[in-house]
Amino acid sequence: MKFNPITQHLFTDNNQLIKKLNCPFNLNWKDLELTKSQCIKRCQLCNKEIIDTDNMTESYLLQRMKQSPALCLKVDLDQANITVEINHE
């Protein structure tokens, strides 16, 4: 996957948009509520699940976003499954 930290768009390697990460609350991952899954936390402000994209495949994330477009994602710049790509156009 590719992530643009300026626009906060997450793309597949083929440039298909997975999601624009646009939470205005400046959340801190470590402060979010734990769930039964290690890769999912819950936002108490919106009562929505947030998926940690580390170790997730782009096809899985695309499928989840298609099923639930309001779903939130978390991206860490150091993840092995993303590369940073800034498009200045």
């Binding site: 300026i6 999601k19 205005p24 400046n26 402000l45 939130c72 994602l73 940073v84 800034i86 200045h88």
Partner: protein, 157 residues
């Protein structure tokens, strides 16, 4: 105030930012006091790029990640990874739009932060800026409620 901010339990007032002369003046005409600040790009905020060029076609790639630094067959690196400030703004100044009824000590949410604070750091040395945060109005400006030393963020949304 955005719909999402209305959902916030403590219901902080959202302070908007105007980033050019016309929008600053428009806000002033509609009752806001523009608190104008100079943009001061932080030397800490950095991304990087390299240029890989296809020797035959002349086309280039501009990777921002060391892991994409080869470009594959036919490409050669003509500019090695070079740090740069990756943001651009319409004006070298911007203004927080202060509502007339703001009170000293009021806790607000700055939707578009003017100051450069480091939000996220990568293990490749890149540092990206904080886009929004909470703040407290002290009567003259905002005391930003964010400490880059302890509050670095992942990208969430």
């Amino acid at each position: 105030m955005s719909d999402r901010l209305k959902e916030k339990p403590n219901n902080l007032r959202a302070i908007k930012t105007a980033r050019d002369k016309d929008s600053i003046n428009q806000a002033a005409k509609t009752g806001y006091f523009p608190l104008v600040k100079v943009l001061d790009p932080s030397e800490l905020i950095r991304s990087k790029f390299a240029i890989l060029q296809n020797i035959k076609t002349g086309e280039i790639l501009a990777p921002n990640d060391f892991r994409c630094g080869s470009g594959g067959k036919g490409y050669t690196k003509v500019i090695d990874f070079t740090p740069y400030y990756p943001y651009s703004f319409p004006s070298p100044y911007a203004a927080y739009l202060i509502p007339k009824d703001i009170t000293v000590g009021e806790h607000v949410f700055l939707e578009d932060l003017i100051e450069d604070l480091v939000a996220s750091t990568s293990n490749q040395g890149d540092k990206y800026r904080l886009c929004c945060c909470e703040a407290i109005w002290n009567g003259e400006t905002f005391d930003i409620q964010y400490d880059p030393k302890t509050d670095t963020r992942h990208f969430i949304g």
